[in-house]
Symmetry: C2
Amino acid sequence: MTAPSSMLHNWHEVPFTKVKITDAFWRPRLEVLKKVTLPSCLIKCEETGRIANFAKAGGLIEGEFEGIYFNDSDVYKVLEGVAYSLMLERDTALEDDADRIIELIAAAQESDGYLCTYYTLVAPESKWTDMEKHEMYNGGHLIEAAVAYYEATGKRQLLDVACRLADHYDRIFGPGKRHWVEGHEEIELALIKLYRVTGEEHYWKFACWLLEERGHGHGVGAIWDKPEWGPPYCQDDVPVREIEKVTGHAVRAMYLYSAMTDAVHVSGDPAYVAALQRVWAHTAQRNMYVTGGIGPSHHNEGFTEDYDLPNESAYCETCAAIAMVFWNHRMNLLFGDGKFADVVEREMYNGALAGISLSGDRFFYVNPLASQGDHHRVPWFDTSCCPTNLARFLPSIGQYMYARMPKGIAVNQYVQGEADIMLENGNGVHLKQRTSFPWSGGVELEVFPAADGVFTIQMRVPEWCRGYRVCVGGEWLSGVEAVVERGYLSIERHWSAGDTILLELDMPVEIFRARQEVQANEGRIALQRGPIVYCIEQSDHDKLKYDEMTFSARERLLVEHREDLLEGVTTLRGKDGLGRPCQFVPYYAWDNRQPGYMQVWVREKQEEQLYNY
Amino acid sequence: MTAPSSMLHNWHEVPFTKVKITDAFWRPRLEVLKKVTLPSCLIKCEETGRIANFAKAGGLIEGEFEGIYFNDSDVYKVLEGVAYSLMLERDTALEDDADRIIELIAAAQESDGYLCTYYTLVAPESKWTDMEKHEMYNGGHLIEAAVAYYEATGKRQLLDVACRLADHYDRIFGPGKRHWVEGHEEIELALIKLYRVTGEEHYWKFACWLLEERGHGHGVGAIWDKPEWGPPYCQDDVPVREIEKVTGHAVRAMYLYSAMTDAVHVSGDPAYVAALQRVWAHTAQRNMYVTGGIGPSHHNEGFTEDYDLPNESAYCETCAAIAMVFWNHRMNLLFGDGKFADVVEREMYNGALAGISLSGDRFFYVNPLASQGDHHRVPWFDTSCCPTNLARFLPSIGQYMYARMPKGIAVNQYVQGEADIMLENGNGVHLKQRTSFPWSGGVELEVFPAADGVFTIQMRVPEWCRGYRVCVGGEWLSGVEAVVERGYLSIERHWSAGDTILLELDMPVEIFRARQEVQANEGRIALQRGPIVYCIEQSDHDKLKYDEMTFSARERLLVEHREDLLEGVTTLRGKDGLGRPCQFVPYYAWDNRQPGYMQVWVREKQEEQLYNY
């Protein structure tokens, strides 16, 4: 049984290798990523023994395992980031360093394919006894790195390691073999990637089997027995096709849903479709911060009750915001609906981007929406998943810009640059996008098909935009031909080289109020302009104490682009409730100046008013 | 005792004769006013015997009084409109016609100065027995017409009639003489105009005495005795300095407050200041429709309970909207606060402008915010105050554009054209304003002082604008120098000929929700873009029944300027809650196509959402 075809759009990804980013917002971040973030992550992996663990497990050097049992994954994730960086720009030194590390990884693989340096070095007799110990989680990240490195360099060594590992899993676990509920999802989406690059269907089937293992009481390990965690913590409380609500550890949940979405791309399984739609609505409409952050609780690094969205104590792990991108991008491709790309955008410019300093070498694990001044980015963590997730997320953001539809091209994110997209009929289309996003809402797209022809270009009109105008080939579109459907403006025409689309998106300052169930935000407002969520910082408000500011939703704000501030940001300047000057800065850029307090949701200065807007 | 000087700004009006309007929005309306509205009003005054009543009262022709006792006022108001039109452009035929009518008016004045054709012809023995019979109301409009005609032509005949009439009042009424509470305010503001043009202080004192007469039980006449009307109907329930709430007949209340505001300009009386601030807040924050309409009830042509703002049965007399302009313009000058100019703008583009057809010869008396299709403009009314109020309001709208401040110039409304303003130091400043208001938010102001010098130009940032940018002399203003205070951006500098201010006001589509006390709008939203309130009309929605449409606040709208529609309007096109195409058009332009339903507040399609904006 398959889902109604009208529901599934099955768009295809346009890989970031086909997308060149040249704009003033992302280009500097990609350069810092390459020059600072990747090298500093590699050094940290070295310094903390994460890389040496492979050498030790492979018997190349003597020594004990250092760190935590999931530390292998950080090395894999940095390698994945290195691979993406190499795809964008070859770099012999970086590649040589990666090759050296890959040699160590290969050496650490046991003869039967098993690979997890913690168990090899610490407890070889205890393999596969505790499903929470991240054995397959580590393996999943190895697979993702291997696929990326193979695609970047054509070198098979790490891919061969990955296949041997996956084959090893497949031999032990599966229908008629042993059960397994991996405590931290990741392996499932990795196996689907491995299937795609190798064409080996058994990887896909094994991924699907792993998905189906959940929710049947097969989970074994410490967390399952802890009453305060239990099966919901790792999404093992119900079979995946029965999921109603987002539960447990946020990153785990998002990785699970990502894999489920991938699976539907192939299977079209309507039970999965329905489950995904339910859990997406439950996540986005009841459990997502305005920054895109998810998972309010430190206790389980995840979800609690609906609308429980405290600001100061918000956990909002950086990895969870990145994982929301992974999932929502897949949902966008599957359903062809802009509302998912809206979430991708919200994370890209807010929840995920806040995780890294402008300097590229300091990171947040936890992303509160308010801080009294004691929360700051640091260079590394014992559990350093977030820096290494950023290391692979940022170089690959180009993949979220476009999608290939059966009828043409969807433009999902507005980032200046160029792209090459192959239509389904084999016609190649070169695109040039000019924009000052996220600081202003004008976008010009120049279209250069290899051969003139009829196809469709869909331009996303973001959720924050109420009014837009669009001009195609010099003519302003009118009426029904320019109505937004499923978040997109659809332009079907005969395209010739040099044809242009000019899209003007109103980008006003928006005042957000949370629904009343969100107790933390009662009497508070937040400001957003375009995709950027704003905050106040102590640096700009020396005379105001923490949480002292009030602000009227009726205040008018100077929209000022300041190249001198925070590497170029548009600030919003006005007066607070007592008439004192105040300034809002982008949330993603907070804690990049002298330490101090920060707030996204500020107290609203109540004013008697008949009409709200 | 005077009010704190910080509170009163005492700006001065820049007369519309110093303001040339050239834009695509108002210019055609002014032309239609001159070519169609004024002639058709004169013809109607002739046809209905309104003008003949003067000839009869003057003994020039035989015959009985025709019509209603306040009909003289319509002739005066058209004459006032004619005078304004002549100020903008001389027209011998029109002036000759006015002179002819003025001769008749002069003839109708009795030897003691009394002038009211109803009493002269119908009940001369009953003069000054019923304070509701509009004797001084008529006189007030005579005075306004006389002042206008004198300023337009330099001819004193009508002004002399007006002075004789005012002197007549002054002889009968006043301290130690008879009490008088004019049932329909108007005389008070007229007397202050007469004081300004003649310099005769006793007119001002008499106006102030009339204001003070109210609320002391002096009112006599039928309406005072009717329990359902009583003293509040004509604002005779409390002394004016004790006013807390807007009450009774809307036009009367607004004329009263206008006169009170004028009085404070001279007196600075803090009790009046406080009363005006109280009653303004009560009017604007609890009793004003989103269109600027006021007075929901047919019964009293006025106010009822706070937040009683029904849509279909809304009365919202056109005169009341115009009177809101009169009052709020005066408040703006007195307090130097843009929030009053915001109301002027709301009326100019919505509540008042809806009163007249695009053709200029059909009028609404009543302006509902929803109609099932049975409410249409007509050429004239028995009580025809609204057409004649439009006839004097429209040609004089130039006066709302600018104000002269002690320190310089305030720019209140954005209308393309030119202006000449004399600063207090005698330096003349020529201004050129270029803008596409109300359809887009960019304004360029070119400044040509006769002599270079330091002064301030204040640009209003309207209430609907959350974000703005401003560039002065080629430099974008920054930070505190461009913060909005009391609704204005204040630019103090040394100005030389050709210096420019470029103001960019974000003009997004705004979704309005009424506060919950407004039961009529529960579950409904209204759309506004810039100063323009939108509505839906049946013409654009053949397949939808009345009040059937739902609309999501999250819908994105094509902002399309259509020169082919309603003489050029920007429409908002999108999809309704069921995905059908829908179109919003400016409220002021409704009922200019085939008859059909109209709604400003449409049912909101409810969608689960964490954050509202």
